[in-house]
């Protein structure tokens, strides 16, 4: 278990800056998820911590040691790769125990530790098989076992669940969480799946184009996204974002089609006249029973079982609403939305940063 800290870490591939001055402090024992869209530099960041990629700039510290110039093996990290990278010519037992073999542990000790790791992961009966003869989920476990057996200071996971089917993914997610509770090893988990991030993380790091957009607990990130980008990325569906104009004098915002919506000037003191991005959660707006509110034209719905999503347009911009299953609505009708002040969020139209 060790703290990991990055200060102003950058990575350039030729002229492209893939990771741009990232500062990140991870406490010992913390489970941090790095979340971001494809190509935003998540893997690159992880690989720099692992030592598989050199940093172009900045400093990486694991525990009290600056590791920039250390070989991967000297850094004390273990990594689980997206496609597992199991050793095809070795049995499961050899795969799991390879690091110990390299470290020169006596065979008897090795076997004992392989046994206990295999036990923990439910791999006991597969120890003599080759990776080829395992299912995807079993391979995933072997990859985990290979990382666990070294009792590393830091676990690095690079989208380890993305090759599994939906049910297995949920099961493995729970398992990873359980393992973390049991072992308490500092973990960094890269994913582009926000559900994975929300369920696993102590803290989430949202990345976009090589920069960190926001660092926070899942709750903070969900409730108070630091930017419109984070807001649209987190939650399913993401935050509804609409372009509006603020009039501080009258205390209302004006939509593209001229509709007005009043807001509480005491809460939103920092709003200024002019264009902003207005946001609200699909589940926090209600259909107004008295027919007064923001008018929305519905087009189609998605059934979720306990609830349903209805898609529509406010002033020609797309918006989604989540309603209870037995609430009535019919497609192609116009309805009124009531959005309480507590559900309103505002973001700067230029920078996308949150206005509080």
């Amino acid at each position: 278990m060790a703290a990991v800290s990055l200060s102003a870490v950058s990575k350039k591939f030729g002229p492209n800056t893939v990771v741009d001055k990232v500062d990140l402090a991870i406490e010992a024992g913390e489970f941090v998820v790095i979340l971001g869209p494809s190509g935003c530099g998540k893997s690159t960041l992880l690989r720099m911590i692992a030592g598989l990629e050199a940093t172009s700039d900045g400093e990486i510290q694991i525990g009290d040691v600056v590791v920039n110039d250390l070989e991967p093996r000297a850094r004390g990290c273990a990594m689980v790769f997206q496609n597992y990278a199991l050793y095809p010519h070795m049995t499961v037992a050899e795969n799991i125990g390879y690091a110990l073999k390299v470290a020169g542990l006596p065979k008897a000790d090795r076997i004992a530790r392989i046994q206990s790791v295999a036990q923990m992961l439910g791999l006991g009966e597969f120890l003599d098989r080759k990776p080829m003869q395992l299912s995807g989920g079993q391979r995933q476990r072997v990859a985990m076992g290979r990382a666990m057996i070294r009792e590393p200071k830091v676990f690095l996971y690079d989208e380890p669940l993305s090759n599994l089917d939906a049910r297995l993914r949920v099961a493995m997610r729970a398992e990873i969480r359980r393992l973390h509770q049991r072992l308490g090893t500092t973990s960094l988990f890269v994913t582009h799946d926000q559900v994975e991030a929300m369920t696993l993380a102590d803290r989430i790091v949202v990345m976009n184009q090589g920069r960190i957009e926001q660092i926070g607990t899942p709750d903070e990130i969900y409730r108070r996204p630091a930017s419109a980008y984070v807001a649209s990325f987190i939650g399913s569906p993401g935050l509804n974002l609409l372009r509006v104009n603020v009039s501080t004098n009258d205390g209302h915002i004006k939509f593209g089609d001229g509709q007005l919506l009043a807001y509480d000037r005491k809460i939103w003191k920092n709003l200024q006249d002019g264009p902003v991005t207005f946001g609200f959660r699909a589940e926090e707006a209600r259909l107004a029973s008295d027919g007064r509110g923001l008018s929305i034209r519905f087009s189609f719905s998605e059934e979720l079982g306990s609830s349903r999503l209805i898609y529509g347009a406010v002033a020609d911009e797309e918006a989604v609403l989540m309603i209870d299953h037995d609430e009535k609505f019919s497609a192609d009708e116009t309805a009124a939305l009531s959005i309480p002040n507590s559900a309103m969020q505002f973001f700067s139209a230029e920078t996308g940063r949150r206005i509080s």
Binding site: E71, M79, P88, V102
Partner: protein
């Protein structure tokens, strides 16, 4: 594209059978020839039924061709070439694929160029070097005037000499020095996923371990194929052993070169009836070791080709 229609099947079989026959008939004629007497084989008609003098002919060929010693020579040379080639190819390809060092591309192209220089093309300089492996150094010393300086200072006339003719080293080394195997290995190493290397590095394996515990076990099928091909290549060499072993009475030569001596000519038959039956028997003996090797090795590389482990 695999298409199955009765007509296509029949045609395929016919073509395959014709091909097999074309390969097999000459071999059969050699075998039949090796079972006949001198008289029978010199009757001008085609024999298709074996006679019953096989063992006489085999032992005559064995004695006259000193095949015991010659086969030993061939075996040592072929094993040496095949082993040396596999080892050298694996190591050079490893260096080229997995290390970044200055001049890497230059070395790559230098190795590549040797593909265009088979032994037959460079046989004269190769012979000169084999006759005195230190000759290139001597020439450099002479050309730069260093040997003159040494002579005037110490009075010793520098004459470096290391004769490789009539030795296994001389037979083997020039055949190892080609690039084919290096390319085979390079191609294979390039298909090994990077993540395997990265996982191994995370587990603490250094370059040497990665070579011996990953690349070599993973390339077993390649190795079997390359070993077999190089063994056959070395075994079938004619020109180089012929030149490199002038001392027939002492060191002897290889079995394939010796076959030439078994073929009847005026000096061996003394003007008598040419005994092709003995020459054919010699052929049979000399063919046997490569045949056994292929039969034995093919399981490995065919299995390697079928059960591709990624």
């Amino acid at each position: 594209m695999i298409e199955r229609t009765p007509l296509l099947n029949v045609t395929t079989y016919i073509v395959l059978c014709i091909g097999a026959l074309m390969v097999f008939i000459p071999l059969w004629l050699v075998f039949v020839g090796a079972t006949l007497t001198v008289r029978e084989i010199n009757i001008p008609e085609l024999h298709l039924i074996p006679g019953n003098h096989l063992f006489e002919n085999l032992s005559a060929a064995w004695e006259r061709g000193h095949l015991g010693e010659r086969l030993t020579n061939s075996l040592i040379m072929s094993l040496g070439v095949a082993t040396g080639k596999v080892a050298m190819s694996a190591i050079t390809a490893f260096g080229l694929v997995y290390f970044r060092f200055p001049g890497r591309m230059l070395i790559f192209w230098l190795i590549f160029i040797t593909l265009m220089l088979p032994l037959e093309v460079r046989i004269v300089p190769t012979y000169a070097v084999a006759a005195n492996a230190l000759w290139p150094f001597q020439s450099i010393l002479d050309a730069t005037g260093i040997s003159g300086i040494i002579a005037s200072l110490t009075g010793i006339q520098l004459a470096l000499e290391w004769n490789l003719l009539n030795s296994y080293t001389g037979l083997i080394l020039p055949l190892i020095a080609t690039a084919t195997g290096t390319f085979l290995y390079r191609q294979f190493f390039l298909t090994v996923p990077d993540e395997l290397l990265e996982a191994a590095r995370m587990d603490g394996a250094g370059p040497f371990r990665f070579l011996t515990e990953f690349l070599i076990p993973l390339s077993r099928a390649n190795m079997a194929a390359l070993f077999t091909i190089m063994f056959l290549y070395a075994w079938n060499q004619y020109l180089w052993p012929l030149l490199a072993t002038p001392d027939r009475a002492g060191f002897g030569t290889t079995a394939v070169v010796e076959l030439k001596m078994l073929a009847p000519n005026v000096s061996t038959t003394g003007g008598g009836t040419p005994d092709w039956n003995v020459a054919m028997a010699g052929c049979l003996i000399v063919m046997l070791p490569p045949l056994l090797l292929v039969a034995f090795m093919q399981r490995y590389f065919v299995r390697g080709l079928i059960a591709t482990e990624k």
